[in-house]
């Protein structure tokens, strides 16, 4: 395993590579890439944190826990709520901030606050020729040149290896509560979730868990405001149970980390879709278990090993990612949904520019 401790060493490692590199942060996600492992976990530390400017700069290998602890000390947080994959995927290792951004990982708050990519302000990365490149910066508004920051977010290490990230953080709210309203099925639940998200009460989590038979709606903010909005939502949607503070937090940690599937066998898929399509789509999946997040815009599905869920899903506005499966299934179905032309040609063209030798996680995304 290659484990550079500076960006210069990272560039050197890439330049000297003579075959595929499996790019890794903390190694908590299953990509099953062949080749020499290149870990950025040696590039560590928070280099700048300005709470009054809501910005932080960290090396890509900085542990997520270290970042979150520093933010918590100033009563701030990563608003996009990155999930912890370890229990779901049966991996160990230490999640890194670089890995969070490289995979554009976002949790339930994505529906209101945005994804990791919406908070990423600047990057430094090493391209496929070993050159260190900078894009963006550490200010919240920046349209100076092309936005390669967004391109790097969610590119899973296939365009470049992140060495440093700067990102926006947000204040941690005073408290939170969850309104749990009974829902007979996914159709009823999505109607509730849509009504809530279309109301002016700033719902920051909107999920449906069939196991609880309920739609879950999270509200965050100052205590009086949370109580007020919970009351208004109840008037709008009907009575439910109010789960407060830490108990509410635990509910959303479970949704975020896909706890309903922990310890259960089978493949795990993650579908992004138009929320109103979710009920029909969910029915077509014939999953052993599933639940909805993002107001219905995200479906987590658990199916028997080897199932081609994309074939079952048929036509809809969105795409499916295979999050957990045996290596042979991953090889057969691919983690990411193949892109249609002419998108595939554009992506191939970009890869050829950023990584002309095709050594970064080859084949992972296309």
């Amino acid at each position: 395993m290659l484990k550079p401790v500076t960006e210069k060493e990272l560039g050197e490692a890439v330049r000297q590579a003579d075959g595929p590199l499996a790019i890794r942060g903390g190694g908590t996600r299953l990509t099953g890439q062949a080749g020499m492992t290149l870990s950025v976990s040696g590039l560590s530390g928070i280099s700048l944190y300005e709470p009054g400017a809501l910005t932080m700069v960290a090396q890509a290998g900085a542990p997520l826990a270290e970042v979150e602890a520093a933010l918590a000390a100033e009563n701030q947080r990563l608003a996009f709520e990155p999930m912890d994959y370890r229990t779901l995927l049966g991996t160990d290792g230490t999640p890194t901030i670089g890995g969070v951004f490289a995979t554009n990982t976002a949790g339930p708050r994505r529906v209101q606050a945005g994804a990791a990519r919406d908070f990423l302000l600047g990057v430094r990365y090493v391209d496929g020729m070993g050159r260190a490149i900078k894009n963006g910066g550490r200010v919240m508004k920046n349209v100076t040149g092309y936005d390669l920051v967004k391109l790097m977010a969610g590119s899973w290490g296939t365009l470049g290896v992140l060495s440093e990230v700067s990102f926006k953080v947000l204040p941690r709210p005073e408290t939170e509560a969850t309104l749990r309203i009974a829902a007979a099925d996914a159709g009823a639940a999505v109607r509730l979730l849509s009504a809530a998200l279309g109301a002016p009460y700033e719902v920051t989590g909107a999920a449906y868990d069939p196991a609880q038979g309920a739609a879950l709606l999270r509200i965050e903010g100052f205590a009086a405001s949370v109580a007020y909005r919970a009351g208004e939502l109840t008037k709008l949607l009907g009575a439910g149970e109010l789960v407060e503070a830490d108990a509410s937090g635990a509910l959303w940690t479970a949704i975020r980390d896909v706890a309903p599937f922990h310890g259960a066998p089978g493949d795990v898929w993650r579908l992004s879709c138009k929320p109103s399509q979710a009920p029909d789509l969910a029915a077509r999946l014939e999953a052993e278990a599933l639940f909805l997040d993002w107001g219905g815009g995200l479906i987590w599905a658990r199916v028997p090993e080897g199932t081609d869920l994309r074939a079952r899903a048929g036509d809809y506005d969105g795409h499916a990612i295979l999050m957990r499966a045996a290596p042979d299934t991953r090889a057969r179905l691919g983690m990411f949904q193949p892109q249609p032309e002419p998108l595939a040609a554009i992506e191939a063209g970009l890869r050829a520019k950023f990584d002309p030798r095709g050594i970064f996680n080859p084949g992972l995304m296309g």
Partner: protein
């Protein structure tokens, strides 16, 4: 400011191009009379003017594709244009170019409140997107000052922001899908009504690419339910450094206002003389707006006022009603108009880390004396997006050049302070030659390589964003002209 010499060969082939285009477009969509093409000679950066060879006003994605394909085959540069409100010269033509205006494509294609999206043709103006959904209580969040006139196409090209992006983000945070037409006529659908489009984040790449990667003809945008209410508070200070510290303390206290606007004394005085908003005559003024129900607003403004009082404000005025709220915003919203009454001005929009604010304001003041030109500062303080307005006299020989030199020094200062050249207006031609102050050549090469993928012949808005010397060999590639 230099633009590439027009290509004599292209100009000589004008009639052939007109003939081909007129087979595809209705007569009124093809503008070739020099008296009429002059209407497209500049955008809102009026210091630079050059009429295009032709202007076309297609009415559909298919027509855009046809026009681009033909221009591509003929090796003719194309300059896309939304409403022509760019302050950076993003839609400035060259004499051998075709202006492709999207103004005729302004339909709403779909509104979907359950999924909280609207799909529009991109010639539609920013404000009329909100206009299409406000009866149902929804709005489109990005709100650039030019929102009455500016088109969604231009908003996407420049990744436009606005006064309320501290809470709602800028265009890229509210864009879910696009129909993109590449220079060779290829039509690509990216994203849609779902969150997080598949594959690489091409939406994020296209947003803010200044019309150089393709022409966006349709867009799926996120719409939000309007808050129950909003109310501003006005706070005046004797010292801009103290005002900056107050902003930082408010943010650290966990309050997230929807807007924090800052004006300095020259700006306050100019707007008072123009708009009579009743602003105090002080060194620095903050307008802070929060949203929610009345009790929620009371609570947040209570915290803000409590923090502000610790910084000895000379004025602290909360809007008691709609009318007073309107007056608090009146001066800020007329700031640019007020400046225009006094003088010609150049508006910059470099962004700085909020912590660098006092230093940057002090240095701008010093430079103002050195260059002999007055500056008024008005900006989005919550996100560090400055808007220094440099006053000059366009009729006085040399004044524009002095103003540009002064502006360049301010932008370099923004970069030195850890910020950037432009926060929301874009690079265009205006800041093109300053790019090497922010980026190393290899950083820019990575960006140029992206354009190579989308537009290998470098025909789409080619002389913008990057220093001409860096793009010269790419722009000079032999065309399949015959």
């Amino acid at each position: 400011m230099q633009m590439p010499q027009p290509d004599a060969g292209i100009l000589a082939r004008k009639s052939r191009l007109v003939a081909r285009l007129s087979q595809l477009l209705p007569p009124d969509a093809l503008i070739q009379d020099p008296a009429e093409t002059r209407a497209y000679e500049c955008d809102a950066l009026t210091a630079y003017k050059c009429a295009p060879m032709l202007a076309v006003l297609p009415a559909s994605t298919q027509e855009v594709s046809d026009v681009l394909r033909i221009c591509h085959e003929d090796g003719v540069p194309v300059v896309p244009r939304g409403s022509g409100t760019s302050l950076a010269g993003g839609a400035l033509p060259t004499a051998d170019s075709v202006i492709l205006g999207v103004a005729r494509m302004n339909d709403v294609l779909e509104t979907d409140y359950d999924n909280r999206i609207i799909k529009v043709q991109t010639g539609r103006t920013n404000l009329s997107v909100t206009g299409a959904v406000e009866e149902e209580g929804f709005f489109y969040a990005p709100d650039p000052s030019s929102q009455l006139a500016c088109a969604i196409a231009g908003n996407i090209a420049m990744n436009s922001g606005g006064a309320h992006c501290l809470k709602y983000g800028v265009t890229t945070n509210n864009l879910l899908g696009v129909t993109l037409v590449q220079m060779d006529g290829t039509v690509t659908e990216i994203g849609g009504a779902h969150l997080d489009a598949a594959g690489l984040d091409l939406l994020g790449l296209i947003c803010g690419s200044e019309g150089q990667l393709g022409v966006v003809t349709e867009a799926t945008l996120r719409i939000l339910r309007k808050p129950e209410g909003a109310r501003p508070v006005l706070i005046g200070f004797d010292d801009s450094e103290v005002a900056g510290a107050c902003v930082s303390d408010i943010i650290k206290a966990g309050v997230l206002p929807v807007a924090i606007e800052f004006m300095d004394r020259p700006c306050i005085r100019a707007t008072e003389a123009f708009a009579h908003a009743g602003y105090p005559d002080c060194e620095a003024l903050l307008i802070i707006e929060v949203e929610g129900s009345d009790p929620e607003i009371d609570h947040q403004l209570g915290l803000i006022k409590q923090i502000a009082r610790r910084h000895d404000p000379v004025e602290l005025r909360e809007a008691a009603d709609e009318d007073e709220a309107g007056r608090i915003w009146l001066g800020r919203k007329s700031a640019f108009g007020a400046m225009g009454q006094i003088n010609d001005y150049m508006c910059l929009d470099g962004t700085i880390p909020v912590s660098a604010l006092p230093m940057v304001l002090r240095r701008i003041g010093e430079m103002s004396k050195d260059f002999g030109l007055d500056v008024a500062n008005v900006f989005h303080a919550g996100d560090g997006n400055m808007h220094p307005l440099i006053l000059f006299d366009a009729n006085k020989p040399g004044d524009l050049e002095t103003c540009e030199a002064f502006g360049a020094e301010i932008l370099k200062l923004c970069v030195e302070a850890g910020g950037c050249l432009t926060g929301e207006h874009g690079v265009g031609v205006e800041k093109r030659d300053l790019m090497l102050h922010q980026y190393a050549p290899e950083d820019l090469e990575a960006q140029l390589a992206v354009k190579d993928v989308f537009d290998p012949a470098w025909l789409l808005n080619p002389a913008k964003v990057f220093p001409l010397a860096l793009t010269e060999t790419r722009r000079a590639r032999p065309m399949a002209a015959e």
